[in-house]
């Protein structure tokens, strides 16, 4: 009944032309090989960011955390993925420590630069790096969208970091109900 309600009443803010997610392999925050297709059957949220990101990424990760809290047991049917755009600094260990602040349900992915670059190409991600300062710090410009795919790994909609956290919950429930 609840599923039917979501199907009929919710209209995604940003709908995408349906497109199959392209499969890839990266290293998760525990150092294990992760294959995207291993989470087929779940609603997938895919975001490209980095741990030193000052504004956008913390927003997305806090929405991931909100989602994990609000969905309750249904979070098992969802894969919240964070792929780094800064593999030189974001080692699996760094990502693990960073994601612990938000939720242990988030899958943080990194790997050797060439491996990660292959994934960026698949998803049209072209990070731009600023000049390093005296401490060697720099910023990375990257896409601000969170791509959301249904249980068949078909991208259906997009979310933005500034959207209300409830929009994330509604979007995921909507796809879970389909």
């Amino acid at each position: 009944m609840q599923a039917l309600f979501y199907q009929e009443s919710y209209k995604p803010a940003i709908e995408l032309q349906p497109e199959k997610l392209k499969d890839f392999e990266l290293i998760d925050q525990y150092g294990n090989l992760f294959r995207l297709s291993s989470v087929k059957g779940k609603v997938i949220l895919l975001f490209f960011g980095y741990t030193n990101c000052p504004d956008i990424c913390p927003l997305v990760l806090s929405r991931y955390a909100y989602l994990a809290e609000k969905l309750g047991p249904d979070i098992d049917k969802v894969a919240m993925i964070f792929v780094t755009v800064d593999p030189d600094r974001d080692t699996p260990e760094v990502i693990r420590i960073h994601l612990e602040r938000y939720s242990d349900r988030i899958i943080g992915l990194s790997g050797p630069r060439d491996m990660v670059e292959e994934v960026w190409k698949l998803y049209k991600v072209k990070p731009l790096y600023t000049e390093k300062d005296e401490q060697g710090n720099y910023f990375v410009t990257h896409p601000a969208f969170v791509f959301v795919a249904d249980k068949n790994m078909v991208m259906r909609l997009a979310l933005t970091p500034e959207m209300d956290p409830e929009e994330y919950v509604k979007a995921v429930r909507y796809l879970l109900s389909r």
Partner: protein
């Protein structure tokens, strides 16, 4: 309270300045994005939380672009642009009446020192419009800061009022001469 301004000049200055304002403050930001297959252009209500701006906004999302609109600075920008336009329109009217040169000389004079001097002296209350514009410019480039923008708005309002009074006085004098 205010003399009727020349509308065409006001609107032209308002629009021009508003475009300048939105560009320099980032109250409207255009971000090109790769083509992700977004079906149609959508306007999404959002809440921005960043170092420069926390408040309501709109995101206009389309296939290949994202436009971010920060609502408070946009409204403030409109107010500032209107006041700017009003000042320009009055100055235009003063110029047309052949009084601009005397107005400026009586006010701030010229050069940075005179501008600063006019700020801290009664000279400002004569007709010196440059300090307010200078402050306004500073507030634009610095940030989306509320305080400098409000100071600029106050100065421009005061300036417009002074200019308006000058035009009214000039009109009265002219009428007396005609009589």
């Amino acid at each position: 309270m205010f003399y009727r301004p020349k509308l065409t000049i006001l609107i032209l200055a308002l629009v021009g300045y508003y475009l300048f304002y939105t560009y320099f403050t980032g109250s409207i930001q255009y971000l090109p994005t790769p083509s992700y297959g977004i079906k149609s252009v959508k306007i999404v209500y959002v809440f921005f939380s960043s170092e420069t701006y926390s408040g309501p906004g709109l995101e206009i999302v389309g296939n290949g672009f994202l436009i971010m609109v920060r609502i408070y600075p946009l409204l403030l920008g409109f107010l500032l642009s209107f006041l700017f336009g009003l000042n320009i329109a009055y100055l235009w009217q003063i110029y047309r009446a052949g009084m601009l040169r005397s107005c400026l000389l009586a006010g701030s004079g010229s050069g940075a020192a005179a501008i600063v001097a006019s700020l801290v002296s009664a000279g400002y209350l004569c007709c010196s419009w440059t300090p307010s514009l200078l402050l306004l410019g500073g507030s634009l480039i610095a940030s989306l800061g509320m305080l400098p923008s409000l100071i600029a708005a106050a100065l421009l309002t005061l300036n417009a009022y002074i200019l308006s009074r000058r035009i009214e006085n000039a009109e009265r004098v002219l009428q007396k001469i005609r009589l």
